[in-house]
Amino acid sequence: MSQDEIRQTVRAFLIDNIYAGIENAELKDESPLISTRIIDSIVALKLVSYLEEKFNVEFEAHEVDQDNLDTINKIVSFVQSKMK
């Protein structure tokens, strides 16, 4: 699974699950999502469950944290590190 594929999956999930009428371009890879409340913490939890199933990885309890999930870049590199 390439980084780009993970990124596409994350973006598609976020756009499907949160944004009503938001443009893809608005969602920057490096913009903070949870700390700025652009996405709700529940959406972040749903994303974790989705990524675990999709990529067959498991997040430890302490890893399901804003620090690992706050930007698309962080999410992508975290999932990637789990897959190695």
Partner: protein
């Protein structure tokens, strides 16, 4: 029977000072005796700085041993404490402090509003070093207040619900008489201190000499970690919102943790969707579940034990149940639940305009108008059927949509704004904002959320935002909220 809330703690400290009063996930913990000493340190410091009966101490700090000690020391001074959400945006904090006129404000140095100039960076040696305090010339009040809890206000700024010692003790006495609780119990403080559920966590725990596990704010947003901590800490009593329990159930992997110490789960603040409640009861089949009901202004006023075995056919939410013994309930002709008795607040802090709306004098008694529509199922036993006004309950928090709309309307590009609530596919309440923009205005959803975030706490930020050309109107020209909901 104690007549001061803090005596619940000091009496238990005298009985068994070596028992653990507070514990944290970090492993930090403190006995009743050591906590008493810490409270005394703060007490001396506060008194030396002019805190007396009728003073008010506002505190915007994370949950910690020091925070709890400050609450108790404030009460021992005869003063009232005001816990403020640590995520409160600056604008909102200013509104609260302006309304409150406190004698002291405690927070992280970086969280101090620029208006509060005289800042002392030093506290007693007991206090967490990162916090600062400022003493201010507030005007003393004459009521016997224990604390003030700020909640969403429909006409703009947040309103402070004044809780007296008598109010709080009426609630703790009822709790102690209703539930069999002992010093062997390990309580969990999941709700933030500015939320009225914390009154149970702190004072019912202290009254029976139990141990209170302080869950930090970050963990409450990570159900997997929360489940792990509650299990490791051998928590026996949980009191929280249906939303948080649903999160534990759906995202907490509770089946991987051992909850054999848990014996009682109390929930309040909103309707518990039956399918989630039943699923949780199956996971925790050894636990008793209770639905507690009551606004901040009265604390719990009705309660209902969820019957076992589970009624699988049931789809409608469980009743709010029977009225607590020390209270009296009436239902108005319109179906509104009215509550009188020792729990009922004396009113909002410096908002006589609101006090006029919430109290009704009937048969020589003062009734609080809950704003909740109920139906009577048996004598003195009720089922909740909806709100009389537009108030929304999200994760147990009260949200007056008018307050969110007022913030949206402050944005220069916004012409009209309306907020409604809906439920997502998992039955969680979400806020939906509908906006029409001024001609030629171009603004993104993200920019709107960022605007809201500088005025409102995070639970009040609309989850979804739709831009439409103009909002539908009723024949009288008002925004047609029913139509928006379709």
């Amino acid at each position: 029977m104690s007549s001061r809330l803090q005596h619940l703690f000091f009496d238990s400290a005298k009985k068994d000072g070596s028992h653990i009063a507070l514990a944290l996930a970090s492993g930090e913990q403190i006995t009743y005796e050591a906590l008493s000493e810490l409270v005394n340190d703060f007490l001396k410091y506060f008194k030396a700085n002019g805190i007396v009966k009728g003073s008010r101490i506002a505190i915007m700090a994370p949950k910690s041993i020091s925070t709890v000690a400050i609450f108790l020391a404030t009460l021992e001074c005869g003063a009232a404490y005001i816990p403020i959400d640590i995520e409160t945006p600056k604008e909102r904090l200013n509104q609260i402090l302006q309304n409150l006129d406190p004698h002291a404000f405690i927070a992280y140095t970086s969280d101090f509003p620029s208006e509060i100039l005289c800042q002392q960076l030093f506290l007693t040696k007991a206090l967490n070093e990162s916090l600062s305090i400022t003493f201010l010339p507030g005007e003393n009040h004459s009521e016997d207040l224990a604390f003030i809890l700020y909640t969403s206000g429909s006409t703009g700024p947040p309103k402070g619900v004044c809780i007296t010692h008598e109010n709080a003790l009426a609630f703790t006495d009822w709790s102690l008489a209703t539930f069999s609780i002992s010093n062997k119990d390990r309580f969990s403080s999941i709700a933030p201190f500015h939320f009225d559920l914390s009154v149970f966590d702190l004072y019912v725990c202290f009254a029976c000499g139990g141990t209170l596990f302080l869950v930090d704010e970050r963990t409450t947003k990570n159900p997997r970690l929360l489940a792990e901590q509650l299990s490791k800490q051998n928590i026996s009593i949980i009191y929280t919102t249906p939303s948080l329990l649903s999160l534990l159930l759906n995202f907490g992997k509770i089946e991987k943790n051992n909850f054999s110490s848990l014996r009682m789960t109390l929930f309040a603040g909103e309707i518990f969707p039956v399918q989630h409640l039943h699923a949780l009861m199956k996971q925790w089949s050894h636990v008793s579940f209770y639905n507690l009901y009551g606004p901040t202004e009265t604390n719990v006023c009705t309660w209902f034990e969820i019957p076992k075995p589970i009624d699988e056919q049931r789809t409608e939410p469980y009743p709010i149940g029977k009225v607590c013994g020390q209270l009296e309930a009436k239902v108005s002709e319109e179906g509104e639940l009215l509550i009188a008795g020792p729990n009922v607040t004396i009113g909002y802090w410096k908002r006589p305009d609101l006090d006029l709306k919430i109290f009704w004098e009937l048969d020589g008694k003062t009734y609080y108008r809950t704003g909740d529509h109920v139906e009577s199922i048996h004598k003195n036993e009720y089922t909740y059927t909806g709100r009389m006004d537009r108030m929304i309950k999200k994760r147990g928090y009260r949200i007056e949509p008018e307050e969110v709309e007022a913030v949206l309307m402050q944005h220069p590009d916004v012409m009209e704004a309306a907020i409604i609530s809906d439920r997502d596919q998992d039955d969680f309440t979400i806020l939906i904002g509908f906006l029409s923009l001024r001609p030629k205005a171009e603004i993104s959803v993200i920019a709107i959320k960022e605007h809201c975030l500088s005025f409102l706490p995070s639970y009040m930020i609309p989850d979804q935002i739709y831009f439409i050309d103009s909002l539908p109107k009723t024949s009288s020209g008002k925004i047609d909220l029913k139509k928006l909901g379709q």
